[in-house]
Symmetry: C2
Subunit: 548 residues, 2 copies
Amino acid sequence: MKPISEIAKQIGIDTHYIESYGKYKAKLEPELMEQWQHKPDGKLVLVTAINPTPSGEGKTLTSIGLAQSLHALGTRAIAALREPSLGPCFGMKGGATGSGQAQIVPADDINLHFTGDIHAISSAHNLLAAMIDNHMYHGNELRIDPKRMTWKRTVDMNDRSLRNIVTGLGSGNGDVRESGYLITSASEVMAILCLSEHMTDLKERLARIMIGYSYDGTPVTASELKAVEGMAILLRDAIKPNLVQTLEGTPVILHGGPFANIAHGCSSVIGTKTALKLADVVVTEAGFGAELGAEKFFDIKCRQSGLTPSAAVLVVTVKALKYNGQHAETGQPTDPTEVDAMATLRQGMANLHRHIRNLQSFGVPVMVAINHFTGDTEQELELIQAECSHLGVPAAISRVWAEGSAGGEAMARQLLDLLETAPQAFTPLYENECSLTNKIERIITSIYGGEGAVYSPAALRTLEQLEAEGFGHLPVCMAKTPYSFTDQPRLLGAPTGFTIQVSRVSLSAGAGFVVVETGNTMTMPGLPRVPAAERMQIDANGHIDGLF
Amino acid sequence: MKPISEIAKQIGIDTHYIESYGKYKAKLEPELMEQWQHKPDGKLVLVTAINPTPSGEGKTLTSIGLAQSLHALGTRAIAALREPSLGPCFGMKGGATGSGQAQIVPADDINLHFTGDIHAISSAHNLLAAMIDNHMYHGNELRIDPKRMTWKRTVDMNDRSLRNIVTGLGSGNGDVRESGYLITSASEVMAILCLSEHMTDLKERLARIMIGYSYDGTPVTASELKAVEGMAILLRDAIKPNLVQTLEGTPVILHGGPFANIAHGCSSVIGTKTALKLADVVVTEAGFGAELGAEKFFDIKCRQSGLTPSAAVLVVTVKALKYNGQHAETGQPTDPTEVDAMATLRQGMANLHRHIRNLQSFGVPVMVAINHFTGDTEQELELIQAECSHLGVPAAISRVWAEGSAGGEAMARQLLDLLETAPQAFTPLYENECSLTNKIERIITSIYGGEGAVYSPAALRTLEQLEAEGFGHLPVCMAKTPYSFTDQPRLLGAPTGFTIQVSRVSLSAGAGFVVVETGNTMTMPGLPRVPAAERMQIDANGHIDGLF
C-alpha cells in the first residue's frame, strides 16, 4: 500500500484538502469541490449485471478490476463505490472489498468501522427517533399519532430480534408502542446522505423526512421536531467522501452504502461528482441486477443529481446464464447433471438480451464483461462472445480476480474504445410529470417485460394520498427480488405475460423517492446458524484472520 | 492547535507509533508500550472532589488546567482523562472537554464521534446480544433461560423509550422476551476496555462476561457463545489510547469513559500506563465525589492494574461547601438570602474534612484545589485556606478557567512540592480475601461514615450465590447518589448514624467487580423537554455552534 497522501497527490489533491484516518484512509474536504467546480468532468461508467445467482456475479470485483486495468493503461481512472456495512460481515458473507487480485485496501479497516460514516448515520437516525419519543413524552405538542409514527430505530448489526419490538415499557419511560429496527444501510438517512450535493442540501433533505402523521392526518417532519441541526452535526464528517486504493494503487472513492431494495443502492453523489473532477474515467456500480440497479441509478441518482452516464458495463457469468437457463422454463431448478450445459447456457441468453436492450433504451452505450470463473470452458465463453457479437455489443473476458489489471486489459481497452466512439443520448425512462402509477407501469412494461401492476388496496390508497399531498413528481424506487425480472425469485430467464404485485407504498421524502414494495422487503437481516463471527480470529498483536 | 504529530514528537513518540485521525487526533500503537516497558514510570496524581452540587465542581477543568500549569512550569506532564459520551451532548449538558482557558481540543470532534471508540464498544456489545438471541433462535443448545438472560443492548444516545422493551415480536423473529438498552458508557464492554492491559487481557475479560443462566442454573458466558473473537475484532482500534492536546498544547490522553455508578468511572488503564511512560507527572480523574470516585480508583483500577497513586488533588468550590452547609442539618435547602454566607460555608467544611481524612486513610498525600468562581469573596477563599492549613493540608486557589496555566501555577507548584516531600504508602481499603459483605461494610463505615448496610433479600441472595460461585475475591463497585455520603441525595455535609440500603447486587465478571446498587441506578438517561440538540447549529461549511 502507498501512503494515502501519495495516492491523493497522484490525482492532484493537495494534502491540505485531505484528512487522514491512519496512513491508508482519508476524507476529502468539501473545499476541494468548491475549488474545482469549473474543471470539466470525466466520463461516468456504470457497472451492472444480469440477474444474479444467490452468490453474486462479481460487480464490485469487476468495478475494482476495471479501474485497475484503466489505471494500468495510463488512463486517469477512479472507482467510486459503496462502503461496506459492518453488520453483514458477522453474519453470512464476508466483506465487500473485492477479492483475489482486485481488492480495495486496507480491507480489514474498510470492512470494520472504516471512517465511522455508518455509525454517524445510525446516530443521526437514532437522535431523531429519541427526539420523537421525547416530544411525545413531554406533552406531544405536534399531536403525533403513535399508531401512525413510522420512523424506526437503526443499528449496523444483523439482529432479527429487533425487527419488531415494543418500546416505552415501565413507569416514566414514555408511551408503550410498537416499533422496530432497520439495519443502517436501510435507513432513509443513508439514502439522503448518498443523494445530497452538499451540507445545505443534506439539511434540506433531513428537514423533509416524514416521520408519520398527526391525529388530524397532517404529515409530521423532522424539521418540526427541530432535529435537523443535531442530525446534520452528527453527519458533519460522514458527508465527506473517503479515499482509499486498490491492491495496485488505483484511487478509490468509497462513500455511502444504501440498500438496493427500499433505497437506490448507489454510492454517494458527492463521491461520484468528486471523482469526476479528479479522473477522466470514473467506474461506479449499482446494487442487484440491471433491471433494479441500473434503472434506479438512471432514474433516481442521475435524475436528481444531473449526472450523465457515458457507458454501462454489464457483468455476466457462465454460472448466472446457466442458472437463468435452468430455471427459465419451469421455475424449478433442474439437476444440472441431467441437462446439456451448452443448451442451458444458450437458454439463459434471453436474460442477457433483455438487460442489454434495457440499458440501450436509456441511450447508454453498453458493453459486456464476462467475469471468468475457473471452471468455465472455452466453448462456453466463446458462445457468450458470439452472442454479443451477434447483438452488436462489444464483449470482453475479465480475469481480474486471478490476474488483476492484466486480466482486465481487454475489457478496459474495449471500454475506452466505446467511450471514444459510441453515440450517447442518455434519457431517463420517464418524466417527473408522469403520475406515480404511470411510472410504476413504465418500469414494469419497458424494463421488466411484464404486463403491468396489481396493487393492494393499501398501496393504491397510499399512491392516491401521495399524489394528493404533492409527492407525485418524485421518482419511484422499486423493491423487488433481484433474482428475476418478475416479483417471483424462481421465474428466471426472460419471462413474459406476468404482472407485478405491489403490496406497499411509502414515502422517503428526504431521499426524494417513493418506495414501491412487491412482497415483503427484508430491512433487518438475521444471523445464520453459525455466524461468520464464530470463524474469525484476532491475535495478541491485533492481526485479524477470517473477517472477509 | 499544533499538528498532533508535533505533540507526539514533543513527548518523544516517533510518528511511526501514531495513527493520525485528521490533523489533531491520533491513536497510539501498542508497540509503543512494548518498546518502552523498561522505562521508569512517572508519578500518578488523582483529581477528585468533595460531594458536588448538581452542576459539578470542575474536576475535568481542574485536571486539564493542572496539566497545563505543570507543563508551563517545564514539567513533563500529561493529562489522562475520560473521553466524552456523545449521547448526553444532545440532552442536558454540553460536552466534557473542559471550558474557558482550560480545554481539550479539537472539542467539537472529541464531543462528537472522536476516533470511534464508543461506537466500536456499542457494536461489540450488540454483536454479543445478537449472537445470544440467534443462539436461542437456532435451537438454544446452551439451554439459556430467557427469564434469566441479563445482557441488554446498548446505544450512545439518551433515549428513555428504550429502557424497557420487548423484542422478538412477529413470526420468524425469535422468542418474545423482555429486554432493554443501556447507554454505552454503562456497558460492561466499556468497563472491560478500560481495565484491560492489552489485547490478550481484553479477550480473556470478554470471555468471562456472564450473560445469564441456563435452565439448570449454570452461568453462561460470552466465551460459550463464541462471541469473543468477533467482539475483540470490533475493538481492535478502540483499545488504542487517543492523543490530543489542551488549548496550550499540553498532551492529553483521552481513552474510555465508563459510568461512575454501575462501573468504576475512570479512564483506561492502557491510557494511564502509556501516559506514565511518557511523562513525569500524569494527572487523571475519577467520576463523582471522592467517596465514590477515589474509592473506586484506588480499590478497583489501582488494585487490578498495580498502579500506585502518588498524590490526590481534592477539588472544592465555595458553592459546593455552602451547598453542603445549607443542606447539612435538615436535609432541606434553606433560602440562601436568609442565612449567613460565612456560617453556611463553615458548616459545609465537615464534608471537606471527611473527604481529606478518607483520602489520607489510603496512604495518599492530599492537597486541596479551590476552583475559583467569579462570585467568590476573598473572605470565603481565606476561610477555606485557613481550614486546610489548620488540617495540615496544602491548598491553592485555581483560576485555570479564567487564566489557563497562569491561574494554576500556585496549585502546580504545591503539587510538585507535595510529590517531592510527602511520604507515600498507598494501600487499598480492603484485601481481596475479605468477603463481599465485609468489603461493603468497610466502605460504608470507613469511607462514608455510616453504621453499616441493610440488604434487600434479593441482594443478600445474590451475594451468597456469588461467594458460592467463587466471585467473593472481587472488589465491589458501589452505585450510590454522588451528592451525599449516604444513599439519600439530600443528606449533605458529613452525616453520621445512617445505614445504606443495598437494593441489588450483580456481577460484572469481565470487568472484574461486583456491582452493589443502593436505590435505582439510571443506566439510560432521557432527553429533557428542550434537548440541547435543538439549540445547536451547523452552517454550510460545517462549522458547528452550540455543541458544548
